[in-house]
Amino acid sequence: MGETLLFYAFSGAAIVASAMVIFQRNPMYSVLLLVASFGMISGLYVQLDAPFIAVTQIVVYAGALMVLFLYAVMLLNRPNEDAGDWDAAHPLKEPGMARIGVGLGALLVVQLVYALLRTGRLDEAVGTGGDGGSVRAIGRTMFQDYAFAFEATSVLILVALVGGVYLANREDGR
Protein backbone atom coordinates (compact mmCIF):
# COMPACT_ATOMS: atom_id res chain seq x y z
CA MET A 1 0.00 0.00 0.00
CA GLY A 2 2.68 2.44 1.05
CA GLU A 3 4.66 1.34 -1.94
CA THR A 4 1.82 2.13 -4.33
CA LEU A 5 1.37 5.55 -2.76
CA LEU A 6 5.09 6.23 -3.08
CA PHE A 7 4.97 5.17 -6.72
CA TYR A 8 2.14 7.58 -7.49
CA ALA A 9 3.85 10.36 -5.56
CA PHE A 10 7.14 9.89 -7.40
CA SER A 11 5.65 9.47 -10.86
CA GLY A 12 3.12 12.26 -10.38
CA ALA A 13 5.81 14.66 -9.20
CA ALA A 14 8.11 13.62 -12.05
CA ILE A 15 5.42 14.28 -14.67
CA VAL A 16 4.34 17.59 -13.15
CA ALA A 17 7.93 18.78 -12.84
CA SER A 18 8.71 17.77 -16.44
CA ALA A 19 5.61 19.52 -17.71
CA MET A 20 6.59 22.66 -15.82
CA VAL A 21 10.06 22.44 -17.38
CA ILE A 22 8.62 23.01 -20.84
CA PHE A 23 6.02 25.62 -19.82
CA GLN A 24 8.52 27.70 -17.89
CA ARG A 25 9.67 30.99 -19.42
CA ASN A 26 12.81 31.24 -17.31
CA PRO A 27 15.46 28.63 -18.23
CA MET A 28 16.90 28.87 -14.71
CA TYR A 29 13.65 27.50 -13.29
CA SER A 30 13.45 24.96 -16.12
CA VAL A 31 16.81 23.53 -15.15
CA LEU A 32 15.90 23.33 -11.47
CA LEU A 33 12.54 21.71 -12.15
CA LEU A 34 14.31 19.17 -14.33
CA VAL A 35 16.65 18.39 -11.42
CA ALA A 36 13.57 17.78 -9.27
CA SER A 37 12.14 15.53 -11.98
CA PHE A 38 15.40 13.55 -12.10
CA GLY A 39 15.26 13.13 -8.33
CA MET A 40 11.75 11.70 -8.60
CA ILE A 41 12.74 9.32 -11.41
CA SER A 42 15.65 8.24 -9.23
CA GLY A 43 13.05 7.39 -6.58
CA LEU A 44 11.27 5.22 -9.17
CA TYR A 45 14.56 3.40 -9.83
CA VAL A 46 14.85 2.69 -6.11
CA GLN A 47 11.35 1.20 -6.25
CA LEU A 48 12.46 -0.89 -9.20
CA ASP A 49 15.23 -2.23 -6.95
CA ALA A 50 17.95 -0.68 -9.12
CA PRO A 51 19.86 1.33 -6.49
CA PHE A 52 23.00 1.68 -8.58
CA ILE A 53 21.15 3.35 -11.44
CA ALA A 54 19.24 5.49 -8.94
CA VAL A 55 22.43 6.87 -7.44
CA THR A 56 24.17 7.20 -10.82
CA GLN A 57 21.16 9.18 -12.01
CA ILE A 58 21.74 11.69 -9.21
CA VAL A 59 25.53 11.80 -9.62
CA VAL A 60 25.62 12.09 -13.41
CA TYR A 61 22.40 13.91 -14.32
CA ALA A 62 21.65 16.06 -11.30
CA GLY A 63 25.17 16.48 -9.98
CA ALA A 64 27.13 17.08 -13.16
CA LEU A 65 25.00 17.51 -16.28
CA MET A 66 22.49 19.97 -14.86
CA VAL A 67 25.27 22.03 -13.27
CA LEU A 68 26.66 22.33 -16.79
CA PHE A 69 23.27 23.65 -17.96
CA LEU A 70 23.11 26.06 -15.02
CA TYR A 71 26.58 27.23 -15.92
CA ALA A 72 25.52 27.90 -19.50
CA VAL A 73 22.37 29.75 -18.38
CA MET A 74 24.39 31.90 -15.99
CA LEU A 75 27.08 32.62 -18.58
CA LEU A 76 24.61 33.61 -21.30
CA ASN A 77 22.62 35.64 -18.76
CA ARG A 78 19.51 35.85 -20.95
CA PRO A 79 16.98 34.25 -18.64
CA ASN A 80 13.68 35.24 -20.28
CA GLU A 81 14.74 34.56 -23.82
CA ASP A 82 11.83 33.63 -26.01
CA ALA A 83 9.16 35.96 -24.66
CA GLY A 84 8.67 38.14 -27.72
CA ASP A 85 11.85 38.77 -29.61
CA TRP A 86 11.25 36.32 -32.42
CA ASP A 87 9.72 37.03 -35.74
CA ALA A 88 6.07 38.09 -35.38
CA ALA A 89 5.22 36.64 -38.79
CA HIS A 90 6.47 33.20 -37.84
CA PRO A 91 3.81 30.51 -38.46
CA LEU A 92 4.31 29.11 -34.95
CA LYS A 93 3.25 32.47 -33.55
CA GLU A 94 -0.36 31.88 -34.61
CA PRO A 95 -2.59 31.66 -31.54
CA GLY A 96 -3.84 28.12 -32.07
CA MET A 97 -0.43 26.60 -32.66
CA ALA A 98 0.51 25.93 -29.04
CA ARG A 99 -2.76 24.07 -28.62
CA ILE A 100 -1.94 21.92 -31.64
CA GLY A 101 1.42 21.16 -30.02
CA VAL A 102 -0.29 20.04 -26.83
CA GLY A 103 -2.74 18.03 -28.93
CA LEU A 104 0.08 16.30 -30.78
CA GLY A 105 1.75 15.56 -27.45
CA ALA A 106 -1.46 14.00 -26.15
CA LEU A 107 -1.73 11.95 -29.33
CA LEU A 108 1.80 10.71 -28.78
CA VAL A 109 0.88 9.64 -25.23
CA VAL A 110 -2.06 7.64 -26.60
CA GLN A 111 0.08 5.98 -29.29
CA LEU A 112 2.93 5.16 -26.92
CA VAL A 113 0.63 3.80 -24.23
CA TYR A 114 -1.17 1.69 -26.85
CA ALA A 115 2.11 0.37 -28.24
CA LEU A 116 3.67 -0.33 -24.84
CA LEU A 117 0.56 -1.95 -23.44
CA ARG A 118 0.59 -4.50 -26.28
CA THR A 119 3.85 -6.00 -25.00
CA GLY A 120 1.95 -8.36 -22.70
CA ARG A 121 2.46 -9.61 -19.14
CA LEU A 122 1.87 -6.11 -17.86
CA ASP A 123 0.24 -7.11 -14.61
CA GLU A 124 3.33 -8.87 -13.36
CA ALA A 125 5.10 -7.02 -10.61
CA VAL A 126 8.65 -5.84 -11.20
CA GLY A 127 11.51 -5.23 -8.84
CA THR A 128 11.16 -8.40 -6.80
CA GLY A 129 14.65 -8.86 -5.44
CA GLY A 130 16.94 -11.36 -7.12
CA ASP A 131 20.45 -10.57 -8.22
CA GLY A 132 19.38 -8.15 -10.97
CA GLY A 133 19.92 -5.03 -8.88
CA SER A 134 23.33 -5.70 -7.38
CA VAL A 135 26.32 -3.64 -8.38
CA ARG A 136 28.37 -6.83 -8.66
CA ALA A 137 26.06 -8.29 -11.31
CA ILE A 138 26.04 -5.03 -13.26
CA GLY A 139 29.83 -4.83 -13.17
CA ARG A 140 30.25 -8.43 -14.28
CA THR A 141 27.99 -8.04 -17.28
CA MET A 142 29.28 -4.62 -18.23
CA PHE A 143 32.95 -5.59 -18.29
CA GLN A 144 32.45 -9.02 -19.86
CA ASP A 145 29.56 -8.90 -22.32
CA TYR A 146 29.66 -5.18 -23.02
CA ALA A 147 33.39 -4.54 -22.83
CA PHE A 148 33.59 -3.26 -26.41
CA ALA A 149 30.67 -0.86 -25.94
CA PHE A 150 32.30 0.37 -22.75
CA GLU A 151 35.58 1.12 -24.53
CA ALA A 152 33.71 2.78 -27.40
CA THR A 153 31.97 5.02 -24.85
CA SER A 154 35.31 6.23 -23.56
CA VAL A 155 36.26 7.24 -27.11
CA LEU A 156 32.91 9.03 -27.39
CA ILE A 157 33.63 10.99 -24.22
CA LEU A 158 37.06 11.95 -25.52
CA VAL A 159 35.52 13.18 -28.77
CA ALA A 160 32.90 15.16 -26.86
CA LEU A 161 35.60 16.66 -24.65
CA VAL A 162 37.72 17.79 -27.57
CA GLY A 163 34.66 18.99 -29.48
CA GLY A 164 33.31 20.95 -26.54
CA VAL A 165 36.61 22.69 -25.91
CA TYR A 166 37.07 23.47 -29.61
CA LEU A 167 33.56 24.83 -30.14
CA ALA A 168 33.39 26.97 -27.04
CA ASN A 169 36.91 28.27 -27.52
CA ARG A 170 36.70 29.01 -31.23
CA GLU A 171 37.34 32.72 -31.15
CA ASP A 172 40.52 33.38 -29.30
CA GLY A 173 40.63 36.98 -30.37
CA ARG A 174 37.51 38.05 -28.45
Binding site: M28, I58, V59, A62, V67, L70, M74, L75, S134, V135
Partner: protein, 340 residues
Protein backbone atom coordinates in the same frame (compact mmCIF):
# COMPACT_ATOMS: atom_id res chain seq x y z
CA UNK B 1 8.45 -1.64 18.21
CA UNK B 2 11.42 -0.91 20.45
CA UNK B 3 13.67 -1.24 17.42
CA UNK B 4 11.71 1.45 15.60
CA UNK B 5 11.97 3.76 18.61
CA UNK B 6 15.70 3.04 18.80
CA UNK B 7 16.11 3.95 15.16
CA UNK B 8 14.24 7.22 15.64
CA UNK B 9 16.49 7.95 18.62
CA UNK B 10 19.56 7.26 16.47
CA UNK B 11 18.30 9.64 13.80
CA UNK B 12 17.69 12.33 16.44
CA UNK B 13 21.15 11.77 17.91
CA UNK B 14 22.77 12.15 14.49
CA UNK B 15 20.76 15.30 13.79
CA UNK B 16 21.53 16.95 17.12
CA UNK B 17 25.20 15.97 16.89
CA UNK B 18 25.47 17.60 13.46
CA UNK B 19 23.76 20.76 14.72
CA UNK B 20 26.13 20.86 17.67
CA UNK B 21 29.12 20.25 15.41
CA UNK B 22 28.43 23.57 13.74
CA UNK B 23 28.24 25.37 17.10
CA UNK B 24 31.32 23.68 18.54
CA UNK B 25 33.29 24.25 15.37
CA UNK B 26 32.57 27.99 15.44
CA UNK B 27 34.26 28.09 18.86
CA UNK B 28 37.09 25.71 17.89
CA UNK B 29 37.76 27.65 14.71
CA UNK B 30 38.14 30.93 16.58
CA UNK B 31 40.19 29.44 19.40
CA UNK B 32 42.58 27.54 17.12
CA UNK B 33 42.94 30.55 14.85
CA UNK B 34 43.76 32.67 17.90
CA UNK B 35 46.31 30.12 19.15
CA UNK B 36 48.02 29.97 15.77
CA UNK B 37 48.15 33.75 15.61
CA UNK B 38 49.24 34.01 19.29
CA UNK B 39 46.04 35.66 20.42
CA UNK B 40 43.50 34.78 23.09
CA UNK B 41 40.38 34.34 20.99
CA UNK B 42 36.92 34.63 22.56
CA UNK B 43 37.17 34.87 26.37
CA UNK B 44 34.27 37.02 27.49
CA UNK B 45 31.19 34.83 27.14
CA UNK B 46 31.39 31.96 29.65
CA UNK B 47 34.53 30.06 30.69
CA UNK B 48 37.11 30.17 27.88
CA UNK B 49 34.48 31.86 25.74
CA UNK B 50 32.60 28.57 25.47
CA UNK B 51 29.22 30.27 25.14
CA UNK B 52 30.42 32.35 22.20
CA UNK B 53 28.46 30.27 19.61
CA UNK B 54 25.28 30.84 21.62
CA UNK B 55 25.90 34.57 21.62
CA UNK B 56 26.57 34.41 17.88
CA UNK B 57 23.30 32.61 17.25
CA UNK B 58 21.31 35.13 19.32
CA UNK B 59 22.98 37.96 17.44
CA UNK B 60 22.18 36.36 14.06
CA UNK B 61 18.54 35.75 14.96
CA UNK B 62 18.08 39.35 16.08
CA UNK B 63 19.47 40.71 12.81
CA UNK B 64 17.27 41.87 9.99
CA UNK B 65 16.57 39.57 7.04
CA UNK B 66 17.76 41.54 4.05
CA UNK B 67 16.93 40.76 0.44
CA UNK B 68 18.18 42.82 -2.48
CA UNK B 69 15.39 44.44 -4.46
CA UNK B 70 16.38 42.84 -7.76
CA UNK B 71 16.98 39.40 -6.26
CA UNK B 72 14.94 36.42 -7.41
CA UNK B 73 12.72 35.95 -4.33
CA UNK B 74 12.02 32.21 -4.63
CA UNK B 75 15.54 31.07 -5.43
CA UNK B 76 17.06 33.49 -2.92
CA UNK B 77 15.05 31.80 -0.16
CA UNK B 78 15.54 28.31 -1.53
CA UNK B 79 19.34 28.43 -1.85
CA UNK B 80 20.33 28.26 1.86
CA UNK B 81 17.70 25.59 2.43
CA UNK B 82 19.16 23.41 -0.34
CA UNK B 83 22.65 23.88 1.09
CA UNK B 84 21.55 22.85 4.57
CA UNK B 85 19.36 19.92 3.53
CA UNK B 86 22.07 18.47 1.30
CA UNK B 87 24.61 18.81 4.11
CA UNK B 88 22.39 17.04 6.64
CA UNK B 89 21.16 14.34 4.25
CA UNK B 90 24.65 13.41 3.08
CA UNK B 91 25.50 12.19 6.57
CA UNK B 92 22.63 9.67 6.60
CA UNK B 93 24.44 6.58 5.20
CA UNK B 94 27.56 7.09 7.37
CA UNK B 95 27.78 4.50 10.17
CA UNK B 96 29.09 5.94 13.43
CA UNK B 97 29.16 2.89 15.65
CA UNK B 98 29.04 -0.90 15.78
CA UNK B 99 25.76 -2.76 15.99
CA UNK B 100 24.37 -2.47 19.48
CA UNK B 101 21.40 -3.67 21.51
CA UNK B 102 21.56 -0.60 23.80
CA UNK B 103 22.75 -2.68 26.78
CA UNK B 104 20.34 -5.54 26.14
CA UNK B 105 17.31 -3.27 25.81
CA UNK B 106 16.48 -4.45 22.28
CA UNK B 107 15.90 -8.03 21.18
CA UNK B 108 17.90 -7.60 17.99
CA UNK B 109 20.91 -5.33 17.40
CA UNK B 110 20.62 -2.17 15.35
CA UNK B 111 23.49 -0.35 13.67
CA UNK B 112 24.38 3.15 14.79
CA UNK B 113 23.54 4.65 11.42
CA UNK B 114 20.63 6.59 10.01
CA UNK B 115 20.21 4.47 6.88
CA UNK B 116 22.13 1.37 5.82
CA UNK B 117 22.11 1.67 2.03
CA UNK B 118 23.90 -0.99 0.01
CA UNK B 119 25.34 1.69 -2.28
CA UNK B 120 26.01 3.98 0.69
CA UNK B 121 29.35 5.28 -0.56
CA UNK B 122 27.84 6.49 -3.83
CA UNK B 123 24.82 7.86 -1.99
CA UNK B 124 26.98 10.13 0.17
CA UNK B 125 28.80 11.23 -2.97
CA UNK B 126 25.53 11.91 -4.81
CA UNK B 127 23.81 13.83 -2.03
CA UNK B 128 26.81 15.97 -1.18
CA UNK B 129 27.16 16.86 -4.87
CA UNK B 130 23.67 18.40 -4.58
CA UNK B 131 25.19 21.04 -2.29
CA UNK B 132 26.59 22.86 -5.30
CA UNK B 133 23.04 23.93 -6.20
CA UNK B 134 22.73 25.90 -2.98
CA UNK B 135 25.87 27.84 -3.81
CA UNK B 136 25.09 28.39 -7.49
CA UNK B 137 21.52 29.49 -6.80
CA UNK B 138 22.61 31.80 -4.01
CA UNK B 139 25.11 33.41 -6.37
CA UNK B 140 22.73 33.74 -9.29
CA UNK B 141 19.61 34.85 -7.42
CA UNK B 142 21.37 37.59 -5.46
CA UNK B 143 21.83 39.49 -8.71
CA UNK B 144 25.20 40.81 -7.61
CA UNK B 145 28.47 40.49 -9.48
CA UNK B 146 30.43 39.28 -6.45
CA UNK B 147 27.88 36.58 -5.76
CA UNK B 148 27.74 35.49 -9.39
CA UNK B 149 31.53 35.29 -9.66
CA UNK B 150 31.67 33.25 -6.46
CA UNK B 151 28.99 30.91 -7.78
CA UNK B 152 30.68 30.44 -11.17
CA UNK B 153 33.98 29.70 -9.47
CA UNK B 154 32.50 27.26 -7.03
CA UNK B 155 30.53 25.28 -9.60
CA UNK B 156 33.66 24.85 -11.72
CA UNK B 157 35.75 24.01 -8.68
CA UNK B 158 33.35 21.49 -7.18
CA UNK B 159 32.80 19.64 -10.47
CA UNK B 160 36.55 19.50 -11.11
CA UNK B 161 37.45 18.15 -7.70
CA UNK B 162 34.52 15.74 -7.61
CA UNK B 163 36.40 13.66 -10.21
CA UNK B 164 39.44 13.16 -8.00
CA UNK B 165 37.17 12.64 -4.97
CA UNK B 166 35.26 9.89 -6.74
CA UNK B 167 38.38 8.23 -8.11
CA UNK B 168 39.91 8.18 -4.61
CA UNK B 169 36.73 6.48 -3.39
CA UNK B 170 37.07 3.87 -6.13
CA UNK B 171 40.42 2.70 -4.73
CA UNK B 172 38.79 1.84 -1.41
CA UNK B 173 35.90 0.15 -3.19
CA UNK B 174 38.38 -2.09 -5.03
CA UNK B 175 40.04 -3.19 -1.79
CA UNK B 176 36.89 -3.54 0.27
CA UNK B 177 34.86 -5.14 -2.52
CA UNK B 178 31.71 -3.40 -1.35
CA UNK B 179 29.91 -0.08 -1.65
CA UNK B 180 28.24 -0.44 1.74
CA UNK B 181 29.96 1.78 4.29
CA UNK B 182 29.26 -0.67 7.12
CA UNK B 183 31.02 -3.47 5.23
CA UNK B 184 33.94 -1.17 4.45
CA UNK B 185 34.38 -0.46 8.17
CA UNK B 186 34.01 -4.14 9.08
CA UNK B 187 36.77 -4.93 6.57
CA UNK B 188 39.15 -2.78 8.65
CA UNK B 189 38.72 -4.71 11.89
CA UNK B 190 41.77 -6.13 13.64
CA UNK B 191 45.46 -5.46 13.25
CA UNK B 192 48.43 -6.66 11.23
CA UNK B 193 51.04 -8.41 13.45
CA UNK B 194 48.93 -7.35 16.39
CA UNK B 195 50.21 -3.78 16.27
CA UNK B 196 49.35 -1.93 13.09
CA UNK B 197 45.59 -1.47 12.77
CA UNK B 198 44.16 -2.79 9.51
CA UNK B 199 43.15 0.62 8.27
CA UNK B 200 42.89 1.24 4.56
CA UNK B 201 45.02 4.32 5.21
CA UNK B 202 48.06 2.05 5.14
CA UNK B 203 46.97 0.39 1.89
CA UNK B 204 45.84 3.65 0.27
CA UNK B 205 48.09 6.45 1.60
CA UNK B 206 47.96 8.34 -1.69
CA UNK B 207 44.22 7.78 -1.92
CA UNK B 208 43.76 9.24 1.56
CA UNK B 209 45.77 12.35 0.68
CA UNK B 210 43.84 12.86 -2.55
CA UNK B 211 40.57 12.30 -0.72
CA UNK B 212 41.38 14.89 1.93
CA UNK B 213 42.62 17.49 -0.57
CA UNK B 214 39.58 17.00 -2.79
CA UNK B 215 37.39 17.03 0.31
CA UNK B 216 38.77 20.40 1.36
CA UNK B 217 38.12 21.73 -2.14
CA UNK B 218 34.59 20.24 -2.13
CA UNK B 219 33.71 21.97 1.12
CA UNK B 220 35.18 25.25 -0.16
CA UNK B 221 37.55 25.61 2.76
CA UNK B 222 40.87 27.46 2.72
CA UNK B 223 43.23 27.15 0.89
CA UNK B 224 40.53 26.47 -1.73
CA UNK B 225 37.89 28.93 -0.49
CA UNK B 226 37.45 30.72 -3.81
CA UNK B 227 33.68 30.93 -3.71
CA UNK B 228 34.02 33.35 -0.80
CA UNK B 229 37.57 34.76 -1.20
CA UNK B 230 36.84 37.77 1.00
CA UNK B 231 39.73 39.85 -0.34
CA UNK B 232 38.47 39.66 -3.92
CA UNK B 233 34.75 38.96 -3.74
CA UNK B 234 33.59 40.54 -0.43
CA UNK B 235 32.07 37.27 0.75
CA UNK B 236 31.47 35.45 -2.54
CA UNK B 237 28.18 33.68 -3.04
CA UNK B 238 26.61 34.77 0.27
CA UNK B 239 27.54 38.45 0.01
CA UNK B 240 23.88 39.50 -0.03
CA UNK B 241 22.73 37.20 2.74
CA UNK B 242 22.15 38.20 6.35
CA UNK B 243 20.71 36.85 9.57
CA UNK B 244 19.59 33.20 9.72
CA UNK B 245 19.95 32.62 5.99
CA UNK B 246 23.61 33.53 6.31
CA UNK B 247 23.84 31.26 9.35
CA UNK B 248 22.42 28.37 7.32
CA UNK B 249 25.25 28.62 4.79
CA UNK B 250 27.69 28.75 7.67
CA UNK B 251 26.15 25.69 9.26
CA UNK B 252 26.13 23.82 5.94
CA UNK B 253 29.87 24.46 5.60
CA UNK B 254 30.68 22.96 8.99
CA UNK B 255 28.33 20.03 8.50
CA UNK B 256 29.92 19.31 5.13
CA UNK B 257 33.30 19.33 6.86
CA UNK B 258 31.94 16.85 9.40
CA UNK B 259 30.62 14.62 6.60
CA UNK B 260 33.91 14.61 4.71
CA UNK B 261 35.80 13.90 7.95
CA UNK B 262 33.36 11.13 8.82
CA UNK B 263 33.72 9.63 5.32
CA UNK B 264 37.53 9.78 5.59
CA UNK B 265 37.30 8.10 9.01
CA UNK B 266 34.99 5.42 7.66
CA UNK B 267 36.92 4.72 4.49
CA UNK B 268 40.53 5.11 5.60
CA UNK B 269 40.78 5.26 9.40
CA UNK B 270 38.82 2.18 10.40
CA UNK B 271 35.59 3.89 11.43
CA UNK B 272 34.62 2.94 14.98
CA UNK B 273 37.35 0.29 15.36
CA UNK B 274 40.11 1.04 17.81
CA UNK B 275 42.05 -0.48 20.70
CA UNK B 276 41.24 -0.37 24.46
CA UNK B 277 37.50 0.19 24.10
CA UNK B 278 34.87 -2.58 23.84
CA UNK B 279 33.01 -2.56 20.51
CA UNK B 280 29.83 -1.05 22.03
CA UNK B 281 31.81 2.09 22.81
CA UNK B 282 33.34 2.27 19.33
CA UNK B 283 31.49 5.51 18.64
CA UNK B 284 33.96 7.21 21.02
CA UNK B 285 36.80 6.26 18.66
CA UNK B 286 34.71 7.51 15.76
CA UNK B 287 34.20 10.88 17.46
CA UNK B 288 37.91 11.15 18.32
CA UNK B 289 38.97 10.45 14.72
CA UNK B 290 36.41 12.80 13.19
CA UNK B 291 37.33 15.47 15.72
CA UNK B 292 41.00 15.15 14.85
CA UNK B 293 40.33 15.45 11.11
CA UNK B 294 38.19 18.53 11.69
CA UNK B 295 41.00 20.04 13.75
CA UNK B 296 43.30 19.37 10.77
CA UNK B 297 40.81 21.25 8.59
CA UNK B 298 41.02 24.30 10.85
CA UNK B 299 44.77 23.94 11.18
CA UNK B 300 45.22 23.95 7.39
CA UNK B 301 42.91 26.93 6.99
CA UNK B 302 44.92 29.14 9.31
CA UNK B 303 48.31 27.93 8.07
CA UNK B 304 48.15 28.03 4.28
CA UNK B 305 47.43 31.04 2.08
CA UNK B 306 44.79 30.85 -0.63
CA UNK B 307 45.83 29.69 -4.09
CA UNK B 308 45.18 31.70 -7.21
CA UNK B 309 42.15 30.54 -9.15
CA UNK B 310 44.08 29.31 -12.21
CA UNK B 311 46.51 27.50 -9.90
CA UNK B 312 43.58 25.71 -8.33
CA UNK B 313 42.27 24.53 -11.69
CA UNK B 314 45.74 23.52 -12.87
CA UNK B 315 46.36 21.61 -9.66
CA UNK B 316 43.00 19.85 -9.86
CA UNK B 317 43.17 18.78 -13.49
CA UNK B 318 46.92 18.37 -14.09
CA UNK B 319 48.10 16.89 -10.80
CA UNK B 320 45.34 15.62 -8.58
CA UNK B 321 43.26 13.83 -11.24
CA UNK B 322 46.22 12.04 -12.92
CA UNK B 323 47.57 11.10 -9.49
CA UNK B 324 44.22 9.62 -8.50
CA UNK B 325 43.95 7.68 -11.77
CA UNK B 326 47.46 6.25 -11.31
CA UNK B 327 46.56 5.40 -7.72
CA UNK B 328 43.47 3.57 -8.93
CA UNK B 329 45.45 1.61 -11.54
CA UNK B 330 48.11 0.59 -9.01
CA UNK B 331 45.42 -0.45 -6.55
CA UNK B 332 43.65 -2.49 -9.23
CA UNK B 333 46.93 -4.23 -10.11
CA UNK B 334 47.56 -4.96 -6.43
CA UNK B 335 44.07 -6.34 -5.88
CA UNK B 336 44.41 -8.50 -9.00
CA UNK B 337 47.78 -9.82 -7.76
CA UNK B 338 46.50 -10.66 -4.26
CA UNK B 339 43.17 -12.18 -5.26
CA UNK B 340 44.54 -13.81 -8.39
Amino acid sequence: MLVVIAQIVIILIAFVMLLNTAAIMVWVERKVCALIQQREGPTRVGPYGLFQPLADVIKLIMKEELRPKSADAILFTLAPIISCVAAFAAFAPVPFGAETTFFGLLDRPVGLQVADINVGMLAVFAISSMGVYGIVLAGWSSNSKYSLLGALRSSAQMISYELSYGTALAGVVLIAGSLSLREVVNGQEGAWLGVLPKWYLFLQPVGFLIFMIAGIAETNRAPFDFPEAEQELVAGYFTEYSSMRFAMFYMAEYINMATVSAMATTLFLGGWHGPFLPPEYGWIWFLIKVGFLMFVYVWIRWTLPRYRYDQLMQFGWKWLLPASVVNLLVTAAGVLYVHG
